[in-house]
């Protein structure tokens, strides 16, 4: 029963318009307790979830964007962002929140969690997974 599986969480929706992104993030954080091999994918409008500078003060909604920074502490260290989705939306990596994790095997060096990947690379990653969740 201690077999490790590859889990992928695919995020395709923008934040705040629906409850999917927040619920998805909570599932990832809860699922992290089961010590599986976890990655997250941000494609389509899901890339907007990682947009820098989110400020919900005027709209009265809960700003859950700081929670993405906690993912590294839950050993969710691979966040794949599709390059084509960014380009279609006029975004670059510099528009995204800088997210990092600390590598205990490398003297707790801070390493970037976000990896920009092509659609073709993502297609191969998807094929490798044992379990895929969609939000």
């Amino acid at each position: 029963m201690s077999e490790t599986k590859k889990f992928m969480y695919i995020n395709r929706r923008p934040p705040y318009g629906t409850v999917y992104p927040l619920e998805g993030l909570e599932v990832v954080l809860i699922g992290a307790a089961f010590e599986q091999e976890v990655c997250m994918v941000f494609i389509s409008d899901g890339v907007f979830q990682l947009r820098q500078g989110q400020d919900t003060i005027d709209s009265g909604m809960k700003n859950f964007s700081p929670t993405y920074r906690a993912l590294g502490d839950y050993e969710v260290t691979r966040l794949y962002v599709e390059r084509e989705s960014l380009e279609e939306r006029g975004l670059t990596e510099a528009d995204l929140m800088p997210l990092t994790w600390e590598d205990e095997d490398d003297d707790w060096a801070e390493k970037p969690s976000i990896q920009i990947v092509s659609r073709a690379q993502l297609s191969d990653l998807l094929e490798e997974q044992d379990v895929v969740f969609n939000f």
């Binding site: 318009g17 389509s44 409008d45 005027d58």
Partner: protein, 100 residues
């Protein structure tokens, strides 16, 4: 007439349908995920940029701010309004059509 659009143009045809039917002199207000339609430099920018000549296009400031979209990244000509501006637009027009 005031048209409101609350869906991202990347996910829904709401904005496209709205632009196809909105007549010149109309007001369009982008709200919620609709504010992504206001972004410059995207694959959907041209569609709205063309319309700004004959239609007044607005985007709701609090929804832009929540999503981390600064005003300098918007299509030129789009006006940013607050909730008070939303109310003023609704009052200034005889009808409101919500493209949900």
């Amino acid at each position: 007439m005031l048209h409101t659009v609350n869906k991202s143009p990347f996910e829904s045809t709401s904005l496209k349908t709205c632009l196809g039917l909105a007549q010149s002199g109309s007001d369009i207000l982008l709200i919620e995920d609709g504010v992504y339609g206001a972004l410059a430099g995207t694959i959907h920018t041209a569609m709205l940029a063309q319309a700004t000549g004959t239609i007044s296009v607005y985007a709701l400031g609090p929804d832009l701010k929540a999503r981390g979209l600064p005003e300098d990244r918007l299509i030129p000509g789009i006006k940013v309004v607050g909730y008070d501006g939303f109310v003023e637009l609704a009052c200034a027009n005889d009808k409101v059509q919500s493209w949900l």
